[in-house]
Amino acid sequence: MNPKLPLHKRWIEVDKQGRNCVVAISIEQTSDELMYPPNGIKSVFKVIREKNVGTEDYEIVYLIDNHEPFGFHEHPKLPADRETRRIVHASNWDEAWVLFEKKIEEILDET
């Protein structure tokens, strides 16, 4: 069964180092099937974190999305390098979510 779209969820937690972290999940139907093949579903999973404790100055530290020409891919070297992408073995948001879930635990529990 598919999720009821759009699905936009946020989770805010203080990590082990006291920095505020935001986990943002967005899955939505678009009309652009070329950009988000095969059915136009755009998926963005990201973790945003304060640069320093208490500053509320945020940066994206991990991102999985699915736009063309890459399909599902992660940005593994954020925040320093925005251009590096790595294709992930996921053919839909469901499989991408499993990878992302592991990453959330890794990032939020990092000491």
């Binding site: 009821k4 969820k9 946020r10 989770w11 805010i12 203080v14 999940i25 509320e56 469901d94």
Partner: protein, 144 residues
């Protein structure tokens, strides 16, 4: 008159992930749950949702400023501080910032959707009225 609600949920990471997994896999997310932001503690929510940020949300809903610059003037605060608060509210999921103007250099602050109140579900429930309509409706409900 039905008020549109942005729900703030206080729960553990485990519960959030379990709920999300359920929504993704079974399609069981309700309309109400679509518009929710989850925090790990009420203390964290209160630390981040300062009086200044609440004032920004109310000003956006009621006065519809065309830019952050205009918003800063309306609430009589310094632009850099208002910009910082708006960026934080965007990251937290309460507002969106849309590029406007010919050179797309202006940022127009808007509520993430047209919610009237923020309903915080914790051990003690709290309601933050955002729109003028919400004030009227809540007052009527109290009198009634």
């Amino acid at each position: 008159m039905k008020l549109k609600i942005l729900k703030v949920i206080i729960s553990s990471r485990k519960v959030f992930i379990a709920d999300l997994r359920k929504a993704i896999h079974s399609g069981e997310n309700s309309e109400e749950e679509d518009h929710s932001i989850s925090f790990d503690s009420i203390e964290n929510f209160k630390r981040l949702m300062t009086a200044n940020k609440l004032e920004i949300l109310m000003a956006i809903a009621r006065l519809k400023p065309a830019s952050i610059n205009q918003l800063a003037k309306l609430i009589n605060r310094e632009y850099p501080h208002v910009l910082k608060d708006c960026r934080s509210l965007k990251v937290l999921g309460f507002i969106k910032l849309e590029e406007v103007g010919a050179a797309r250099k202006q940022l127009a602050p808007m509520l993430i959707f047209d919610y009237d109140i923020i309903h915080v579900k914790s051990q003690i429930e709290e309601i933050f009225p955002i729109t003028e309509q919400s004030n009227r409706v809540l007052l009527t409900a109290q009198v009634g």
